[in-house]
């Protein structure tokens, strides 16, 4: 399992548009990918869960990747987070 911690820098937080992009990005991988803020852990492949975190600028989120392509997913999503959130 790989784990990625990321502090949101986008002033609007994970709002609808980036949540959609994130879901689209993680769906390319077969690994189970979860996104967690505080105690709440959500399926990163479902847009309602991702938006439901209500992650704002300055919040730390933790993504976990588990499965055959977890390394590739980790690399791609790290890059995605830095560029978009």
């Amino acid at each position: 399992m790989r784990e990625l911690k990321y502090v949101i820098t986008d002033p609007e937080g994970i709002h609808a548009r980036p949540a959609g992009l994130l879901v689209k990005a993680v769906k390319d991988f077969s690994s189970e990918i979860k996104i967690k803020k505080g105690e709440k852990a959500m399926n990163c492949k479902a847009i309602f869960g991702v938006m439901g975190l209500g992650a704002k600028k300055g919040d730390e989120v933790t993504l976990t990747f588990e499965g055959a392509d977890e390394d590739a997913a980790y690399d791609a999503i790290s890059k995605f987070m830095q560029e978009n959130l």
């Binding site: 820098t9 986008d10 002033p11 609007e12 937080g13 709002h15 609808a16 548009r17 949540a19 959609g20 879901v23 689209k24 399926n43 492949k45 479902a46 847009i47 309602f48 869960g49 938006m51 439901g52 209500g54 704002k56 830095q82």
Partner: protein, 547 residues
Amino acid sequence: MEIYKGKSVFGGIAIGKIRVYRKGKQQVKRQRVTDTDAEMARYRAAKEEAVRQLQGLYEKALKEVGEANAAIFEVHQMMLDDDDYNASVEHIVCSQEVNAEYAVAATGDNFAQMFASMDDDYMKERAADVHDISERLLTILNGADSAAADAGEPAIIAADDLAPSETVQLDKDQVLSFVTVHGSLNSHTAILARTMAIPALIGTPLPLDETVDGRLGIVDGSAGVIYVDPDEATLAAMREKQQAEKQKKELLQTLKGKENITLDGQKVMLYANIGNIKDLATVLQNDAGGIGLFRSEFIYLESDHYPTEEEQFRIYKQVAETMGNKRVIIRTLDIGADKKCDYFGMEPEENPALGYRAIRICLTRPEVFKTQLRALFRASAFGKIAIMYPMITGIQEVRQIKQIAEEVRKELTEQGIAIGDPEQGIMIETPAAVMVSDMLAKEVDFFSIGTNDLTQYTLAIDRQNTKLDAFYDAHHPAILRMISMVVENAHKAGIWAGICGELGADQTLTREFLAMGVDELSVSPGSILPIRKIVLETDVGAYKAGK
């Protein structure tokens, strides 16, 4: 006549029949089903149809209101594909042996509830999106026609609130204005109204019944008012106001897409001044040739800490990409004791206008300056960024800046980070800079004259002090001579010179500036087309001869 006051989303006057828009709210009955597999198949077919409809709406919105506003329909498609949403529908259908309609309505309510209970206004509003997709599924499952009503004649649409899909489905030619009882400035309806540039009000306590429906109404967008059954005097006054606005708008529309060239062939660049990334839409709408002054200080003023390189980079990159191959001149940090950020820890000053500000802060706190320059150099790989330094008084400062910029460029290159080759220019806003502009011109790529400060420093008049208004002359010959001198010195050194202060938008001076050979005028977005009109009608040679 009844008058209702709301919050203005977009200005302008609309006069016409009011049509109350009623949602095709689907009635849902809970019914037992025996074949849950068949029911799920029915649900999946409805979902596919809904996704197909949303794709159509996305493409329609893309054409009408642009990619950023159309994106919501892409998000709606993803919501329909949401695993949790679909699992919930399936669970309700299979475990309770009920119809898909009931399962969709219940699921929609649950998910909407989740958003409505979040402590974030933006997220609260997403409950409307959930209702919107659920309603779409229900409409398809019920085999009813889409909720889009047909209008008959162009009307003022009054509604409780409008879902984004409802707004886009309305035939634009049939909509004079939107007036909603609910909704917020962030709602999609508000955003769309602004993009469509039609008058719109939200938060208007309008009764949606027969006292309004079908009556004559007037929406005064800028005043935030709707008149129902207006009296003759109001109607006449508003017709006149509408006519004046229409003529102005039509005239300006005919100027869109035209080159800024005088009758005798002299060209000038007309750029826009902006103070926030939110102004980008108006820059494009007004056909600006570029951005002549992007005031980067909003990034600092809106923050509670020194903005990081990443935070700044993202904003500069967005502007550069949005403007494509058009020039974007970003002015580096211009704050001081009058425009201050607490985290800078600035001490109060007797005389802030002559104090520790702008480039003076940057040169004494190179770490703050370098962070901004790194972000700017990186963003310049994504568009045509130019960097402009404010409050220059002499050549020493410029050399110091160039040295720091060179260090930044070297560091980024060594780190293998992509950068562009941004032009670097300076503001001419001190009398000292004017007097040595011949020397400065050899050091930089362009000049932009900041007439507000230049006037204040030259005439020794504090603009904040209203007692001095009688002594203030914006057209003082001293200022005009200075501008002329700066332009001349720029041209001698083969660089271009523009004006980005308020004087640049002064239409009584446009001909004079053209005669001086000013290469660029950077003005507020709304002033671009009126100035283009003057440029197109001017014969510079004849103007000079007639002086």
